[in-house]
Point group: C2
DNA sequence: TTGAAAGCGCTACCAA
DNA sequence: TTGGTAGCGCTTTCAA
């Protein structure tokens, strides 16, 4: 519980000097500096967050947050937005504010525009759910290089020099799905896959992890067919129905995208409820109900709340408290939900 | 982002007066008080934690923490202790310290002694993993009545007037186990149960939730037999072996206690690996390995870290920031772990 | 019943 | 290269 004042007293210097040494601002004679570091070390000094936070108020920090997909189109993002709200409340402690913007998944140009808009607002940090597009990557790389800390959330983008990524490990989620499927089907299944779009990175990673883990570990699982539903319930119903009719031997469905209700409706209308085992991602009220009805066996979930909030905390620590994130990848927990624990 | 100063200025009074009104200390003329409350309301005032935390340092708060079972006897508590350590670090911000004591599960007299020892140290809050015994309950009730805030952790005790409970919902864990068993065994299983001791509340709740959920929802699951292992690996091996020999029709094991390795060894030595499906609680390195080997299918876990840390935060909020806990039961998440996501 | 001021730990700024 | 000081929001104490 040593404070800067303690150190200053012991070293016979002023608090300003100690501050300069510990935070590398301004020049200090190396003798004094060493002495101060030495004392700080033996005292086990660790700065008080409360003190820092109080002092940071004068800075009037502002952060930017760009999220793709609005809450309407995908219920998953409702909890992400709740997390962001909670993060904003925390930042208020530091007198910091957040500028939040939304984009759609398919408009990289617009996303770059939004980035520029926020930068013009003089933000000192940016959280973004980046669209996988060279233009976005280039703009982010440029900003990072210029010293603006960037944190990616929910979806990552390589080689842009960002500070950290917060989100799910989609590949491992896919592996987990494979393991679950193996247990649920007693090591023997013929599987149909429904995916949103091969272009959405998180969906394709989920499929990749799933198939590769099956190849490695579960020879009894066989992937029969795979269809695309573009995350749309109606399309999902159509393509799933067709797949199940085409391959009556399918006895398990792996839903790696949204459009879950549509796929489940296909199962139900073909009279396959309970006979075809269904595994999906993310938990919504719809999923909950479908579990109660015995259509869906299990859902693998992310931590949307954390994925909304944590990135802001990382930026704050970095900018206001001078603390680099302790790791580059903040993978959230991969949870398995069934009827009883959802 | 209104501050006490803002309110004071607008009301034309001093900060002291505002403080007296907002925190109900000292007497204030009701006219002034109303005016201040009114202004605070329209400004949407919410106190700054940083400010409070800084001011709280002068109080030199001290809390007590009594945990039963040492880290040696039960690996689950290693993570609980890690959580406590993290909580202590947080409290340091507030200049608060924690006195930590350990007891064994079977010595309520000793636990009461420890409580008294801590009270003599003039603590302003107590976290305890209480032993289910009238003496403990009575002492806690007495302290709570006298105004000492008490939070129970990991295990609860009724009717002692405690502020809150942080821990798992063991009954619901049992229900979740039933649901999982049903999915893993394709709605049809003959189950053997291994339990630590019918006297340990959390074990009996796990069994109760399990059997009741089976009665309600899963008619294909049949409980064949149940044995007691006193949480000991060697005993566990013996009784599990005997049970499996006595009932060769058993094809699923529900392990509701410690002594997991012993039970699994019985399965292995009888050549039943893979044929008898094993479900257990809490994740340790042993459990991890047994999953890799395909002996254990899944583990249902608590959140030991949170269960160690959260109680301290609740006490701090209550004592230092004057914030009552938002709920009485802080149930931690019931997680399902398989080979891929453990 | 109220006001004034000091102090909790840290940072920023000005003066030396 | 260093010291001194004011101020962030809140609590507490002393004086009025």
């Amino acid at each position: 519980m040593a404070t800067i004042k303690d150190i200053a007293d012991m070293a016979g210097v002023s608090r300003g000097t100690v501050d300069r040494v510990l935070n590398r601002r301004g020049a200090v004679k190396s003798d004094t500096a060493n002495k101060i570091l030495q004392i700080a070390d033996t005292l086990g000094y660790s700065p008080s967050l409360a003190g820092k936070s109080l002092a940071a108020r004068k800075k009037n920090l502002k952060f930017g947050y760009i999220l793709f997909s609005s809450t309407q189109s995908n219920p998953f993002f409702i909890d992400v937005v709740r997390g962001i709200g909670d993060g904003i409340a925390t930042l208020k402690e530091y007198g910091a504010t957040v500028e939040l913007r939304f984009t759609t998944v398919d408009n990289p140009t617009r996303q770059v525009e939004l980035i520029d808009e926020l930068v013009a607002l003089d933000i000192s940090g940016l959280v973004i759910t980046p669209i996988s597009h060279p233009d976005v990557r280039a703009r982010l790389a440029q900003l990072s290089a210029a010293g603006l800390p960037v944190v990616t959330a929910n979806s990552d983008i390589m080689g842009c020099g960002r500070l950290a990524y917060v989100g799910s490990n989609y590949y491992q989620s896919g592996e987990t799905a494979a393991g679950l499927m193996n247990l649920f089907c007693d090591k023997r299944a013929r599987i149909g896959i429904v995916v949103g779009s091969p272009l959405v990175l998180c969906h394709s990673e989920r499929v990749k992890g799933f198939t590769e883990q099956i190849e490695r570990m579960y020879p009894g699982l066989e992937i029969i067919d795979s269809v695309i539903n573009n995350d749309d319930d109606f399309e999902s119903f159509i393509v799933t129905t067709k797949m199940l009719q085409r391959h009556p031997e399918i006895n398990a469905l792996y839903l790696a995208a949204a459009g879950i209700a549509g796929a489940c409706r296909a199962v139900r209308e073909l009279g396959l409820a309970g006979r075809v085992k269904v595994l999906c991602f993310d938990s919504t009220n719809q999923v909950r109900e479908l579990m109660q009805d015995g259509i869906i066996m299990a859902a693998i979930t992310q931590q949307p709340f954390t994925q909304g909030k944590k990135p802001l905390e990382i930026l704050l620590d970095y900018v206001a408290l001078g603390k680099r994130p302790s790791k580059e990848y903040y993978y959230t927990k991969i949870e398995i939900k069934i009827r009883e624990n959802i």
